[in-house]
């Protein structure tokens, strides 16, 4: 159990605009890797390269030593689950049906009892069994996010990729989702890669962190070595104070002075226009 993911010198560009450059990374089984970085630093692109949504050069993304390009989409879907940034269905489907879609890579022609059983169990595990017959598009953001995670879990993946799963959620749902992810790695020999914006949440829940800056890895390592005042200033361009949280993880408090002065210097110029 447990797959090894290896990324070797991965570069990617959208029609000539480079998005990733020379990314090197290894992920062991049962690990939670948090990817942070400013907007447009390549977080989503990196995730999409990992599961073949974006096509990569040969031998840059390897799963258990095999190039992802050589693994069939269906086979890959059994190894890797993906939770996209936003989810919408063109047609109304019930929660049960949406999660059932996660069984797609396993279903040949008709649905087995086992598929239904797995879906029911996952819904129960995530505490959303009561939503099973509700329509997905009518749920709140937090509930929808859990359903999408449930769909990814129905794939029974050994690697789970999540793209900003907590961005639109309240603090309680953020914690819930991240606790669920942590528990997956403990019980199920599954590793998790999660891209997120919230540095404090990332440092609290990740085993290892990675900061991307303009498509390159700026720093990688345990949260203590990555979340430093210098790194944050270099990557985000803001001053901050990093302290140890009550849980013993690095905690960032951004200092407003510099951004404030920037806004203040801009404000008169904008204001004169009106």
């Amino acid at each position: 159990m447990g797959l090894k993911l290896e990324i070797n010198n991965l570069s990617f560009s959208y029609n000539g605009f480079p998005a990733l450059e020379g990314v090197k990374l290894e992920l062991g089984p049962g690990e939670v890797l948090g990817i942070v970085g400013p907007n447009a630093s390549g977080k989503s692109t990196l995730l999409k390269c990992m599961n073949r949504i974006l096509k990569t050069k040969q031998n840059t993304v390897l799963i258990d030593g095999k190039d992802v390009g050589t693994i069939g989409l269906k086979e890959l879907a059994k190894m890797m689950g993906y939770v996209p940034q936003s989810s919408r269905n063109t047609f109304p489907f019930t929660v049960f049906d949406v999660v059932l879609m996660g069984r797609r890579p396993y279903i040949q022609w008709s649905l087995g009892d086992r598929d239904k059983e797995i879906v029911a169990q996952i819904l129960e595990y995530l505490g959303i069994g009561n939503l099973a017959m509700r329509y997905f598009n009518e749920l709140s953001g937090g509930e929808q996010q859990k359903v999408i995670i449930a769909r990814a879990l129905a794939q029974q993946p050994q690697i789970l990729l999540l793209d900003e799963p907590t961005t639109s959620l309240d603090i309680r749902h953020q914690l819930e989702i991240l606790c669920i992810l942590r528990s997956l790695t403990q019980n199920k020999h599954c590793s998790v890669i999660v891209a997120m914006h919230d540095l404090n949440l990332a440092s609290r829940f990740s085993d290892r962190m990675l900061i991307l800056k303009k498509g390159c890895i700026f720093a990688v390592g345990n949260p203590e070595s990555v979340i430093t005042e210098e790194n944050i200033e270099a990557v985000y361009g803001i001053k901050s104070r990093v302290t140890s949280s009550v849980l013993g993880r690095p905690q960032v408090t951004p200092l407003a002075s510099e951004t404030n002065s920037m806004v203040n210097s801009l404000l008169p110029k904008i204001a004169t226009k009106y």
């Binding site: 599961n51 989409l73 086979e75 689950g81 993906y82 269905n89 489907f93 029911a120 017959m133």
Partner: protein, 358 residues
């Protein structure tokens, strides 16, 4: 784990209800067949029609086969027409549902790839100018022309969309463009046609109708539809998954481009083979999927069968009305489908609280 089995039980219950809906639609279709076979401007009614049909099915049971005229009317006129209506309705509806599903657009019909204009152009070439592209055999010039130009339109759309990576929007736009091209050429043919009668015949063909139904034609269309519809149904899961977008579809092991191409080709083949014989029967392929979706939900595993039966039922009912409402005048079925179907559609639309497009 009592709640777990509860969730499964709820799902199984919902599934049973959907199967029941499909069965009811099927019974409605059978009823329409019985009504349709008993109605007509000529005399044979329900009893006589049943007699004729039963005597054919059980030739040694000693059932009175009925008069010669009754036999001809039932076996050579009404039955082939009923069968063709069922096949055409089913084929157009299934193609429409599949194409709406993979292109994720509610305005898509089986004609989205410009097939109807292309078939119309091909038919007009034969009817108005007497030009047959491949087949010269008298009875089939129109049919062959319509089919060949439909396929040409499909290939053109495929070629254009392929250059843009088979994204739904490029397929739809290419289809619209190719459709306009053929529709312009169709107008040109009508404009330069030497006789008014020919133009009239083209217009009549474009309205679509089942009055020319013959067993020989059915033998050509039926196998294609019988193969294509199950093949489309095979991709129900893929269509469901694609409803969440291309990236999610890929992450669930589905190649969305491939599914688009398969459904495009199968749907176009079925549609082209049908309208080559019947003319452009509109509305069924656009509206049946919406009706079915409102009645049975979006899960294509149930939607496709339901839609197929509804389409067959709708076209058969419309055609029966078209040929019996004001004998001996026969209305083009396309007019009746809309006149009957639109009020029904609006009723269903208003009586459903949930939207069928998210």
């Amino acid at each position: 784990m009592s709640t777990t089995s509860g969730v499964e039980r709820l799902y199984t219950k919902g599934r049973a209800r959907k199967i029941l809906v499909i069965l009811s639609a099927f019974i409605a279709l059978l009823t329409t067949v019985v009504v349709s076979v008993s109605l007509g401007s000529a005399s044979p009614g329900f009893m006589e029609a049943t007699q004729v049909i039963l005597s054919r099915i059980f030739p040694f049971a000693g059932i009175d086969p009925g008069s010669k005229i009754a036999q001809t009317i039932i076996l050579d006129l009404r039955l082939p027409r009923i069968v063709l209506a069922i096949i055409a309705g089913a084929g157009l509806a299934a193609s429409g549902a599949a194409m709406q599903g993979v292109l994720r657009n509610p305005l898509v019909s089986p004609y989205i790839l410009g097939i109807s204009s292309a078939a119309g152009f091909g038919a007009a070439l034969a009817i108005a100018l007497g030009i047959g592209v491949v087949v010269q055999y008298e009875g089939y010039i129109v049919v062959a022309n319509a089919f060949i130009f439909s396929m040409l339109a499909m290939l053109m759309v495929y070629g254009i969309a392929r250059l843009r990576g088979i994204a739904p929007e490029s397929v739809i736009l290419a289809g619209v463009a190719v459709g306009y091209l053929f529709s312009a050429m169709l107008s040109l043919v009508q404009y330069i046609a030497p006789e008014w009668a020919a133009v009239h015949a083209v217009v009549f063909w474009l309205l679509g109708g089942l009055s020319t139904a013959k067993w020989e034609n059915i033998l050509i269309v039926l196998p294609l539809v019988l193969v294509a519809i199950p093949l489309l149904m095979r991709h129900s899961w893929d269509m469901n998954v694609m409803s969440s977008g291309e990236e999610v579809a890929m992450s669930l092991g589905v190649n969305p481009r491939r599914v688009v191409v398969i459904c495009m080709v199968l749907g176009s083949l079925v549609t082209a083979s049908i309208i080559s014989f019947t003319g452009v029967i509109g509305f069924i392929g656009l509206i049946s999927p919406h009706l079915a979706r409102m009645i049975i939900g979006s899960d294509h595993r149930f939607l496709l069968p339901c839609c197929t039966v509804i389409g067959a039922c709708l076209l058969l009912a419309s055609d029966t009305v078209a040929r019996t409402v004001m004998p001996p005048v026969e209305f083009p079925v396309g007019i009746i489908t809309s006149l009957l179907g639109v009020p029904f559609f609006i009723y269903i639309l208003l009586s459903r609280r949930r939207q069928s497009w998210g």
